[in-house]
Symmetry: C2
Subunit: 218 residues, 2 copies
DNA sequence: ACCTGAACACCGTTCAAGT
DNA sequence: ACCTGAACACCGTTCAAGT
C-alpha cells in the first residue's frame, strides 16, 4: 500500500504534519501514568515533543480539552477490557464476575488515568460530547451482559439499566477505595471483589423472607 | 464565665491571636464549596482574611496539608451524619438504609468537599495521621451498625469488616456517580439508592440455589 | 495550516526582616 | 510567636508574527 504523497520531510519528529494530536495525547497519558494529573504541564509536554508549548492549541481548545480526550480514551480502553472479559468467559455467570474483576483491575493498573476519567468532569461531558459517548459505551457493555443473563434466567428480570447501574456503582466503589489506598492491602482488593460479587448475587440479608417461609427449615 | 485575659485588641479581625487556623480552614472550605478545589488559592484566602498570603505557613506545612485538614473535617462531619441516621432510625434495618441515604446525601450536598476527601490522598493519610483516624472513624460507624444487625440476626453472620467494606463501596460508588453527573437526573439518585439497598439485602440472582430447590415452585 | 516567542496574569513557596 | 513583603521558579493562555 503506497504511503500518502507527503514526503518524510526533514522535521525532527514524525508526529509533525498531522499526528501531533496523537503525540500530545500519548505524552499526556504517559505523564499522567508517571506523575499523576497534577504533573501534566503543557510546557513540559511541548518540550518533550520538541514543539512550542502553544502548539497544543492547534489541536485542543485548552488543557481541560486535552484531559477530556485522555479520559475519552480511557473509557474506550475500559470498554474493550470489559467486552474481552465477557466474551472470553463465554458470556455466562462467571464471565460477569470476570467483567467486574477486569473493571477493578483496569483502575488498579491505571489509577491516575482512571481518576481523570472520573475527576469531576460534570460539564466536561457537555463540552466534549465524545467523552459522554465513550463513557456510555463502556456502561453499555455492562448493560448488554446483564440483559443476556436476564434472558438466560440467571439474573432477576428487572430494569436492566437500574441493575447495571447498581453493579457499576459497586465496582466503581471498590475501584475507588482500592486506588485511594482505603483498603488495607492489595490482597484485600481480591478478597473484597470475591465477597462483593458473591453478595451482589445473593445479598447480605438472612434468608427469612416470604420466599423461604413457605419452605421447611433446613 | 470570664473570658481569657487576652484583650479584644485593635486587630481588624477576630481570628488573629490563635484562631487563624480555624479561619483558614473555614475560608478554604467556603471556597471549595463555591468554586471547587481548583478555586482554592492561598493568596485569595489570605486576602479574604486580611492577612498576608504566607501567614498560612504558620499553621499548615503547605497547601496539601490545608486540604488534608479540610478532608479530615469532612470525615468528621460524615461520621456525625451516619451515627445520627442510625440512632434516629432506631438502629434497625431501616436505620441501615437511612445511613446509606445519609451518606449519599452528604456527598450530593457537598460534592467538592466529598471529592477532596477522596481525591487520591493515598499518601496524605501517611502525612496526616489525623486524616486516617477520622476516615476510619466514619467507617467504624458503618461497622458498628453491621455488627448490631448481625447480632440481631438480620444480616448474615459473616466477617463484619468485609460486609461493611462491601456496603461502603456501594454507597461510595453511588455517591461518586451521582456527583459526577453520570446518572441521568437527580431523581435517579433516589431511585438508584432504593434499588441498590434492596438488592444489597437480597441480591440480584434468581433464587434457584440450594436453599430454594427444596421448595415447590411458585 | 501550522508553529513560534514574547508577554500577561496568575500560581505555591522561601526567606530575610520586622514586631 | 506571629506576620510581612519582596523574590523565585513556576503555571495556562493570548496574540502578533513568521513560514
Amino acid at each position: 500500500m503506497p504511503r500518502p504523497t507527503r514526503t518524510a520531510s526533514k522535521s525532527r519528529r514524525a508526529y509533525h504534519h498531522g499526528n501531533l494530536r496523537r503525540a500530545l495525547l500519548d505524552e499526556a497519558l504517559a505523564t499522567i501514568r508517571a506523575e499523576g494529573v497534577e504533573g501534566v504541564t503543557l510546557r513540559d509536554i511541548g518540550a518533550r515533543l520538541g514543539v512550542s508549548r502553544t502548539a497544543l492549541y492547534r489541536h485542543f481548545a485548552d488543557k481541560r480539552a486535552l484531559l477530556a480526550a485522555v479520559a475519552t480514551e480511557g473509557f474506550r480502553m475500559l470498554r474493550e477490557r470489559l467486552v474481552a472479559a465477557w466474551e472470553e468467559g463465554n458470556r455466562g455467570d462467571d464471565a460477569f464476575h470476570a467483567m467486574g474483576v477486569a473493571y477493578v483491575q483496569f483502575a488498579v493498573d491505571n489509577p491516575s488515568h482512571y481518576r481523570v476519567m472520573f475527576g469531576g468532569f460534570v460539564d466536561a461531558q457537555a463540552r466534549d460530547p465524545e467523552l459522554g459517548t465513550e463513557a456510555r459505551g463502556a456502561f453499555q457493555a455492562l448493560v448488554d451482559a446483564v440483559v443476556a443473563l436476564q434472558r438466560d434466567g440467571v439474573f432477576l428480570a428487572e430494569d436492566a439499566v437500574l441493575m447495571s447501574t447498581h453493579t457499576w456503582a459497586l465496582v466503581h466503589g471498590v475501584a475507588m477505595l482500592a486506588i485511594d489506598g482505603q483498603l488495607p492491602g492489595p490482597a484485600d482488593v481480591d478478597a473484597l471483589m470475591r465477597y462483593s460479587f458473591r453478595r451482589l448475587r445473593t445479598g447480605i440479608l438472612v434468608n427469612t423472607g416470604t420466599s423461604r417461609v413457605a419452605c421447611a427449615p433446613g
